[in-house]
């Protein structure tokens, strides 16, 4: 066996009794763990199809006796939950965030990486030192600031601050740093302006990192329930996560559990599909966000 094909264990180890026992236990533990992860998801889905009586049955059933799709219908119609509006708002916020952040951050990252700037060191420090400041500590002044700018209860309160993201800028800049100066130099000699060479050379070369950023932005937008709850004042403006937080899963919720789970199942389906489709990018994004081991 070539060294590149082995792990900690070699094929020789797997002939020893103690190692086989240990390996079997490990595999069994992994299977248990997998089940622990998957069980809540399947339980949520199947419970969302149960009758209200069966939901509380003891001993609990895993599969519903009858598949009550009416719970889903109820979720849409019975409890004054404007799910479609929530969904539309989420997508609206996401699209705006992506447009504003990629447009402005991209240009700035390109400038930091390939263009001449006055006081470049200080500008870099100005941007990246914000990474050191934990966002949770300025939630309150951030809100007051948006309020004094008159942006409360508008989508601008998401879109414009989305462009002030030093982390995205760092990822983009690191990627642009990898583009050879010669390519851009050649474009300059051929008479391309910097903007043209950015749009026609840097952007097309950066599709992997842009994909990663689109992913990260998607999960942030889809996840965030607290901040929109503060910034938005009308039910018709809430994104999905906030709508669920305020009207579905709050501790004294009156919505029956099976219907609640129907809403939750619908809310987790898009990100799960999104994740399964684009998992390559996510994994890359994760290793980009982490340190080299």
């Amino acid at each position: 066996m070539k060294p590149s094909e082995r792990g900690i264990l070699s094929s020789y180890d797997l002939k020893k009794g103690t190692v086989i026992t240990g390996y079997t236990i490990m595999v069994l533990l992994m299977i248990c763990m997998t089940l622990t992860i998957l069980y809540p998801f399947f339980n949520t889905f199947f419970s969302s199809l149960k009758t209200r009586e069966e939901f509380f049955a003891f001993p609990p059933t895993f599969f519903p006796k009858e598949w009550i799709w009416k719970n889903y219908e109820d979720a849409w119609t019975q409890f004054d939950l404007p799910l479609l509006t929530f969904l539309k708002n989420t997508i609206f916020i996401y699209l705006g965030n992506v447009v504003f952040s990629l447009m402005f951050i991209g240009l700035a990252a390109f400038a930091l990486s390939h263009l001449r700037l006055p006081l470049k060191k200080w500008v870099t420090l100005y941007f990246f030192s914000t990474l050191l400041i934990p966002p949770a500590t300025y939630i309150v002044p951030n809100f007051l600031n948006l309020k004094s700018l008159g942006l409360i209860n508008t989508y601008w309160a998401f879109w414009l601050p989305a462009a002030a993201n030093a982390y995205f800028m760092l990822l983009l800049k690191n990627f642009f740093d990898g583009i050879h100066k010669e390519i851009l130099e050649a474009a300059r000699i051929d008479g391309a302006s910097e903007f043209i060479s950015y749009m026609r050379i840097a952007v097309p070369l950066s599709t992997p990192i842009i994909g990663t950023l689109l992913m990260l932005a998607f999960s942030t937008t889809w996840n965030d329930f607290y901040w929109p709850n503060i910034v938005m004042a009308d039910k018709s403006m809430y994104p999905l996560a906030t709508g669920i937080y305020r009207y579905v899963v709050y501790p004294t919720s009156v919505i029956p559990w099976s219907v609640r789970f129907a809403v939750l199942t619908m809310a987790m389906l898009p990100p799960v599909i999104f994740f399964l489709t684009f998992q390559r990018f996510i994994v890359r994004g994760l290793s980009a966000s982490s340190v080299k081991g």
């Binding site: 060294p3 094909e5 792990g7 900690i8 264990l9 070699s10 180890d13 190692v19 390996y23 992994m30 992860i37 809540p40 998801f41 339980n43 949520t44 509380f56 003891f58 609990p60 240009l107 700035a108 400038a111 263009l115 001449r116 700037l117 006055p118 100005y126 914000t130 400041i133 934990p134 949770a136 500590t137 300025y138 309150v140 002044p141 951030n142 809100f143 007051l144 600031n145 414009l160 462009a163 002030a164 302006s193 999960s219 996840n223 329930f225 607290y226 999905l240 996560a241 669920i244 579905v248 501790p251 789970f261 939750l264 809310a267 799960v272 994994v283 994760l286 982490s290 340190v291 081991g293």
Partner: protein, 303 residues
């Protein structure tokens, strides 16, 4: 004399134009971001410290109140309770959650089959919106929920997951379940990059499997573990959203973390001045931690 002067200004003009062209595109590209960062990051950050000395009133205007906000933080028991809860939460996160990802990562990289599937499944909880998970787990932790039904079926006492003693532990269990997959992927990346020859050589020298893990795998990911530990501490010290949506700080303030208290102060009691002061206090403590983290990260990148 005039000629010289003329030549000088012309040269100055030319060099100014050259300077202008030299910097034009870069400045143009970066200016919008400088403005956006200023308005939406630097102003709030600095205003937070400024507001902490004021009584914020949307109707009558703000009044300077000196250190009153800070004094009122230190009055009453909530500061001590919330700091204790936050530290307890951070500790539980380490005790219950921190050691799982490296072990799982080692196990996954040794799997002969379904490695890819294991990675995807492990990351699945991180892909789902947190609020959905909170909703799900509120049922799993319910007095008649699946976990307690199961315990009763096998003849054990049901657990009251949201009692004052258990509620923080319940939240940490949920969050560990939610986030260990993402950390595992980071560890896997590190473990996969360990040269296989090391294991080969160790095995030839007669090292047992455990010794190989102990002396090759673990030392190679030690820096990473330290970094992720710090990162986890920084994250958990700011935790409040799970507590907010699952117990809202209760029962009897058992899950009231510092930042949850701050958010209650601001958006429930509408005492924005005091909340800004609480944010500023937190800011100075966390800044210290962030600096330590970044120093370590820089050291590991050099290594």
């Amino acid at each position: 004399m005039e000629d010289v002067h003329y030549v000088q200004t012309a040269a100055a003009k030319a060099s100014a134009r050259k300077k202008f062209n030299w910097y034009f595109w870069g400045t143009l590209f970066i200016l919008p971001e400088i403005i956006l960062f200023f308005i939406f990051l630097w102003v709030p950050i600095l205003k937070g410290i400024f507001y902490s000395f004021y009584n914020i009133d949307f109707v009558d205007g703000n009044h300077f109140t000196g250190l009153d906000n800070y004094i009122s933080i230190f009055q009453g028991e909530l500061l001590l309770t919330s700091i204790k809860n936050t530290l307890y939460y951070m500790l539980l996160g380490v005790v219950l959650g921190f050691w799982i990802p490296p072990l799982v990562a080692i196990a996954v990289t040794e799997l002969k089959w379904f490695q890819g599937a294991a990675r995807i499944i492990g990351y699945l909880p991180s892909a789902v919106p947190a609020i959905v998970l909170y909703g799900m787990w509120m049922w799993f932790f319910d007095a008649v929920g699946p976990i307690n039904s199961f315990l009763q079926t096998i003849g054990l006492q049901p657990i009251e997951f949201f009692s004052p003693h258990m509620s923080m532990i319940s939240i940490v269990i949920l969050e560990t379940w939610q986030s260990f997959g993402a950390a595992t992927l980071i560890y896997i990346a590190a473990i996969v990059s360990i040269p296989r020859e090391l294991y080969e050589a160790a095995e030839i020298d007669g090292a047992s499997v455990w010794q190989r893990i102990r002396h090759i795998t673990l030392p190679s990911i030690r820096t990473l573990m330290l970094l992720l530990l710090l990162l986890q501490l920084i994250t958990t010290s700011q935790g409040f959203q799970a507590q907010l949506s699952m117990t809202d700080g209760g029962p009897n303030n058992a899950t009231l973390t510092y930042l949850l208290w701050m958010n209650h102060t601001a958006f429930r009691d509408l005492n924005f001045g005091k909340a800004s002061a609480m944010g500023s206090l937190m800011f100075f403590v966390l800044i210290l931690l962030s600096i330590v983290y970044n120093l370590l990260q820089r050291r590991s990148e050099k290594a």
